[in-house]
């Protein structure tokens, strides 16, 4: 049985008269990687700040490892690592000095552990340089290093792929998968870069205008479709509408059509009869990005 690490119970947040968050509920188990997705201004960072106790909760409850973040802050936050908005680092210190400051604030982090983490984020060569000389990607990696230094059970990353090159993104994905698998960390990632989450997260939570509009496993959200499109690749799709009036032309070789499984042989037969060469027939699967835009109705701040 996997253990529940993070539980948000119908969180509300208002600033003055403005309602920022409405009824946000989340559950995160060890080893889970949750993608927290929403357009700018939807309330992703605010939710993270409520979880971390950086802002007061108007209504609702956050439990981390069973401890209430507001009532037992020190116990609740002990096993949490996080990057909020940007990797917050002391620019005038070296990477190592930054990690040393963090290490001082937890029990039992020795030199060996710091070196281990530095190696994990591949900063060995630059760790004694001032952070002000780091690239954004290196800062991001040092930020992750300081967040995982004390082996947290919950890791919260706000836009962690910002400023990383494709190689860096690949490395980070591997690192996070490794942490979730081997250290049993529960990881919450908010990101705009949906393509990144596609191969990383196993749960998705979509937030819009301060409300969660969808929570589900990654395979479910992709499969869930409004229409049941089948994708055809043929020699010439330009005049396909004369044969199949319901077809939607994608390009000169491809079209798609709304059809259930049982209708597919009929369509193939029709095309064969018209002597149109068929190269491929498959079920259309949506990318996470497409699913996202479908759910949120585009990137609109209201």
């Amino acid at each position: 049985m996997k253990e529940l690490v993070l539980k948000c119970e119908s969180l509300y947040k208002t600033f003055g008269k403005k309602q920022i968050l409405k009824n946000i509920s989340l559950e995160l188990y060890e080893g889970d990687i949750l993608g927290f997705i929403g357009p700018n201004g939807a309330g992703k960072t605010t939710t993270i700040k409520l979880i971390l106790g950086l802002q007061g909760i108007t209504k609702g409850k956050v439990l981390i490892n069973g401890f209430d973040i507001e009532k037992e802050f020190e116990k609740a936050i002990r096993k949490v690592g996080a990057i909020v908005e940007n990797p917050d680092l002391y620019m005038y210190l070296t990477g190592y000095e930054n990690l040393k400051l963090i290490a001082n604030l937890y029990k039992g982090i020795d030199k060996k552990r710091i070196e281990e983490v530095v190696k994990l984020v591949r900063l060995e060569n630059r760790i004694n340089d001032k952070v002000s000389k780091y690239s954004l990607g290196m800062r991001q990696r040092l930020g992750i290093a300081q967040a995982i230094l004390h082996k947290p059970s919950l890791l919260i990353l706000d836009e962690p792929t910002n400023g990383l090159d494709p190689e860096g993104i690949k490395e980070m994905r591997e690192l996070l998968l490794d942490l979730a698998k081997n250290e049993k960390m529960a990881i919450l990632i908010s990101s705009h870069n949906l393509a990144e989450l596609d191969n990383l997260v196993n749960k998705v939570c979509i937030i819009k205008n301060g409300e969660i509009i969808e929570t589900s496993g990654i395979s479910e959200i992709k499969k869930e479709e409004k229409a049941n499109y089948k994708l055809f690749e043929i020699k010439d799709a330009s005049r396909i509408k004369e044969i199949l009036p319901g077809a939607i032309i994608i390009n000169e070789n491809k079209f798609k059509i709304d059809a259930v499984k049982e209708e597919v042989p009929e369509i193939i037969e029709l095309l064969v009869n018209k002597k149109i060469p068929i190269y491929e027939v498959k079920k259309e699967e949506k990318s996470l990005e497409e699913a996202f835009f479908e759910k949120t109705g585009g990137n609109v701040i209201e």
Binding site: L52, I77, V84, E85, N86, L93, E97, L101, L105
Partner: protein, 486 residues
């Protein structure tokens, strides 16, 4: 907690700002010490300026001594020129100058009156001239003791005459004023005695300054003692100040020690807060004013607030760090002055004690320089802590470093003005203003505090109230603060 404080100190000492400030302080220190050593001159004394002499020379040509309206002016100018001519024979700080300016000037004036005045009398003038020549001879022979003994003789005679007059007169009005005259004459006699007994050559050195101070302060005290008017608080304070200065002058005369010397290590150290207080305040205010707000401005506050420490502990550790830095800056600046001053002036002067007149025991108290310095630091500490607290509070509440640094510094510089106004116009309610209360050195040695009605207990309570007014909202606001997007 300890680790939090350790981290805060690491952050401060890894920044360049503190080193820059300490370097600036050091540079200022070296400069001021050198100025004291090489340019400070307490004998820059010139009786008549060159410009004045030029003016007199021209003016006297326009005057006709025989014209009644011009006569007085002519005699005056002639005397100036004669005196100046005589002085030219000696160095500007020679003892002879003082004698010429006092005793001989009178003779010259008298002679010139007989020569050019309304009633001309050449034989009298010649007689006086002989006396002048006689005295002039003594000046040339460096015989200052002759003048000292003459001064003593004159003073003794004056006292004797006045006392005889007192015993013989029946005039009530005269009796009333004669006591004061006798007292004054006795002061002159004291001074003359001191000069002879302590072998104080005329001139412009510290011994003569002390003698002069002794005379003036004694006059002042005697006058106040004799007046029947009720003294105001500030007048009483001035009176006490005169007593202290008189006693210190007496000590200097009797011990031949230059207690008031400014330009040596001891002089600078005993004046430590006037010299370097601003630097201590700048350093502590800079730290207190940035320690919280900078973390907000750079976003690193989030890093700190998601560590397993309550917000109360985090803010408290920062405040304790500020207190540590106050002690640090005082110790470092003191050590720097000891080294710089020691190299420039040498350490010998540290053996000379600091003098304070104790109004409780009515005695002069000798205090070791370092004890005195320790007491000074201790009594000034509340003011520095309160300024740092103000800065800390502003820094936390407004998360704005410039405001948090500028406001306390402005306040520090405005203190003198506020206190001056409060004292001068005797505005009672300003008693509750902290700047009149935070300097506890005003209560040392039984002195009268800055304003009537101030007591150490009252000041202590005022300081604590101001402290709490600043620190409690700071903690409450910090605890409730929403960390907004940065």
């Amino acid at each position: 907690m300890n680790n939090l404080i350790k981290n805060e100190l690491t952050k401060i000492f890894k920044k360049k700002a503190i080193y820059i400030l300490l370097l600036v302080t050091l540079a200022f220190m070296i400069l001021s010490n050198c100025i004291y050593k090489y340019f400070y001159n307490d004998t820059t004394y010139s009786y008549y300026s060159d410009g004045y002499i030029e003016f007199v020379k021209e003016a006297i040509n326009e005057l006709e001594p025989d014209k009644p309206s011009d006569t007085k002016m002519y005699i005056e100018y002639k005397t100036v020129l004669d005196v100046d001519n005589m002085m030219k024979e000696y160095n500007k700080d020679a003892w002879q100058i003082q004698i010429i300016a006092s005793t001989i000037q009178n003779y010259i004036n008298e002679r010139n009156t007989y020569l050019y005045g309304a009633q001309k009398d050449e034989s009298q003038a010649n007689k006086i001239n002989e006396q002048i020549n006689e005295l002039s001879e003594k000046l040339k022979n460096d015989d200052w003791k002759y003048f000292a003994n003459e001064e003593l003789k004159t003073a003794e005679e004056k006292v004797k005459l006045l006392e005889e007059e007192k015993s013989s007169t029946d005039d009530k009005q005269r009796l009333e004023s004669i006591d004061l005259e006798i007292a004054m004459a006795k002061i002159d006699l004291d001074v003359a005695k001191y000069r002879v007994d302590e072998d104080i050559k005329y001139g412009y050195d510290y011994m003569n300054t002390a003698l002069e101070n002794y005379k003036e302060r004694s006059y002042m005290i005697e006058q106040i003692d004799n007046s029947k008017e009720e003294l105001t608080y500030q007048e009483k304070k001035d009176y006490n100040d005169s007593i202290e200065q008189r006693e210190i002058s007496k000590y200097i005369i009797e011990n031949h020690v230059d207690i008031n010397k400014q330009n040596d290590l001891r002089g600078i150290l005993s004046n430590f807060f006037n010299e370097f207080g601003l630097f201590i305040v700048v350093i502590t205010v800079m730290i207190a004013g940035t320690i919280v707000s900078e973390e907000f401005n750079k976003g690193t506050i989030k890093l700190l607030l998601i560590k397993p420490y309550s917000r109360k502990k985090i803010l408290l550790s920062k405040f304790i760090t500020v207190l540590i830095m106050i002690v640090f800056s005082i110790v470092v600046i003191l050590a720097m002055e000891l080294i710089v001053g020691g190299i420039i002036f040498g350490f010998e002067s540290l053996n000379i004690p600091v003098l304070q007149y104790n109004f409780n025991s009515n005695m002069l108290q000798e205090i070791n320089v370092f004890s005195y310095l320790g007491i000074q630091i201790f009594t000034q500490l509340p003011s520095i802590i309160l300024l740092a607290t103000l800065s800390f509070a502003l820094s936390t509440i407004f998360t704005n470093s410039p405001v948090a640094i500028a406001l306390p510094l402005l306040g520090y510089m405005g203190v003198a003005v506020i206190n001056q106004i409060a004292i001068q116009y005797n505005i009672g309610f300003l008693r509750y203003f902290v700047t009149l209360n935070w300097d506890f050195s005003q209560y040392l040695y039984g002195k009268m505090p800055l304003m009537e009605g101030l007591t150490p207990g009252f000041s202590g309570i005022i300081c604590i109230i101001y402290f709490l007014i600043m620190i409690i909202p700071t903690f409450v606001i910090f605890k409730k603060k929403n960390i907004k997007n940065i």
